[in-house]
Symmetry: none
Subunit: 218 residues, 4 copies
């Protein structure tokens, strides 16, 4: 619990103090939503799991959807800020001379974040298709910004001759797909398998840079 509590604290406590029961409600809701989906989870279930009366949930969150939003929305903010912008600045500040170093640094960050917040990310991914409000937020604050920064980074390395000439938007899409696809496969699809993170990272970098073909191929 203490680790979970810490996470909750980190994500939600910002300015407002969270009571003990509120934390329990959030933890229970995150667990249930990520296991059975938002629509498939009843507030009664959450209350029981949190060890709280059902009325208590509605004291703190006006509606069930409110509860969902107050779990997922802060995630959006935390997803962009610390990572996307920081990494880019490091690139432009010449902290990473080589693409590989950039990708490596980025993936390490992402990995830890993913591992910590996998439940909330699962909820987010599951509900984006059904909650227009969420979808909008996601595109506005996460997808678009990520994509734009990636394009910038790629242009930077293309200028340095480290990346092939190709519309940077296409390159960005391919790189993002590969990186996030691989991470999701590891943590969402096969969460129980044992992975050697470092080896995997190096393989993905190698793949992004040089592909699977030999020089002999075609």
């Amino acid at each position: 619990m203490s680790e979970e509590e810490e996470l909750i604290q980190q994500l939600f406590a910002e300015e407002d103090e969270l009571t003990d029961k509120q934390k329990k409600i959030l933890i229970a809701a995150i667990e249930s939503f990520s296991e059975k989906g938002y629509a498939g989870t009843s507030t009664n279930e959450i209350a029981k799991k949190a060890g709280v009366a059902e009325g208590t949930i509605f004291r703190h969150y006006k509606t069930k959807k409110d509860l969902l939003m107050s779990i997922v929305a802060p995630m959006m903010a935390k997803l962009i800020g610390p990572f996307i912008i920081n990494d880019l600045n490091k690139v432009l500040d010449r902290e990473f001379d080589h693409v590989e170093d950039f990708i490596r640094a980025m993936m390490e960050n992402r990995r830890e974040f993913l591992k910590k917040h996998i439940s909330i990310l699962k909820i987010m991914l599951q509900e984006i298709p059904f909650q227009p409000e969420l979808r909008e937020q996601f595109f506005e604050h996460v997808a678009k910004k990520t994509f734009d920064r990636f394009v910038n980074v790629i242009q930077h390395y293309q200028a340095k001759g480290q990346m092939i000439e190709m519309p940077p938007e296409s390159a960005a899409r391919l790189a993002i797909t590969t990186i996030f696809g691989s991470l999701m496969a590891q943590y969402l699809l096969f969460p129980h398998a044992e992975w050697d993170d470092e080896v995997e990272t190096e393989r993905i970098i190698q793949f992004i840079m040089h592909g699977l073909g030999t020089t002999k191929a075609r």
Copy 2:
């Protein structure tokens, strides 16, 4: 409607004759499930959209979950049969001398299939995390088989010297991630954007084979 009906026919008619009402129920259910999720759709809603009485749904499908399964299950069968096995055989029968030709052929098939059945695929992806029955079927009949065949194909081209030496499982994962990730991005995330399918396909192939790096890089 006539086109939708045809699809329904193609996917479901197998042995049993489908009455007019049954088809309408299936079409309505697919639309609603893919828009609002399985748990977020009421049978009443489906009945209204299908223009039938609520009782009629339960005459044909014992439960709501039954209805879901009878939509998603045939998809599983159609996902393996026609594609995965056929393509592999063609590879082994030396119909595709080069990796590129194999990927190209496979992607064309997938693209059309995706476009046609995007709603059902959406339902499938959405519900796999929540329906253990579905998840099992998916891993058993789709994921595992796809993966195994891919590994075979990669070994085949590695033996021919067209692909670099790397554990074929890792290579398969990277290739699958790239191909399906890219297709999903196109059809699920940005369904309204205009894509030039051929150009995209060639870019993905180029990426899989040679990556984004220049020879100069590192």
Copy 3:
């Protein structure tokens, strides 16, 4: 029950067929609402009294307020139509040569109506202050029309020299207040007392025409 059913039939059946359960719901709702008020009655209570599952109520009436409205609204229509307009026409058609005859005829009608529909009228009066929708309907369809016709009638008898000169609006207000006030006192405030309707009517008529003073007074 058979008498109540008849009333229900008369008030609600207009075009739409009412199922047996629907009638029972209406009867139970009328009884409960008039006894404990709209807000003080639970749908569960109505269901039990009607011998029906709670869900059944909501099959026929989307919300509790819907149920209230479908009880009270038709009353509005029935209150004006048959009476107010008919009576007026009779006055203008010279069926009533004397004011007294007009008042007498009107009161007889009202009395019977009141006796029959006292429960619904109670609900109506109770809820008008809290349901803006109802209040509007009442003013528009009942109060205004009643008042306007009354003014016409009074002008008619003033022209014939049977009523004193006074702004007809004031006269109308005084007459309406007296008539309806007296009826309400009899049937709402003292429902258990025994009244000789004919004697009461004559007294009210006498009062409206000549007041309580003697010629000697002032």
Copy 4:
């Protein structure tokens, strides 16, 4: 607020000191109850409007009904004492030689009282049908006493030859109905209309004394 506070003071302060919060609760409760009815108002709503914690309400009033009663009950006392008894005594002390003067004096009193306490009166009238306790109190302490005194007054003026011979109970009923009916119409039904109080009073007196008919009528 200062005027309202004064009223509150006047009605409730009797023996017990009212704290600032208590006054605010009473004012808020009166406003809400008269607008939305007792059953339609939540204690939470009252607390918010009063700017106090919900718990504070229950510190001063054991239950919600307690709060209602402590608003409405003192009204009952104030309705009899100052008016009904005083007025009667003045009649018997020959302060009013003519019926008209009596009615005029009484109406002036009532008018001011009504204007001041209209909200509480509304609550009282609304809740009498649903709170047996209230109904009993009202009949016992207000209705009956008022009626009895009225009968006395009427007998007094009948003896003086100023009022026609008629069972004094019937005369009382007609007079009360007219007076209170007219006042209620003015202040409850059409609160926004502009009335010339004096003109209205004279018209009502004239009506009670001589009715609407001409000598020619019948």
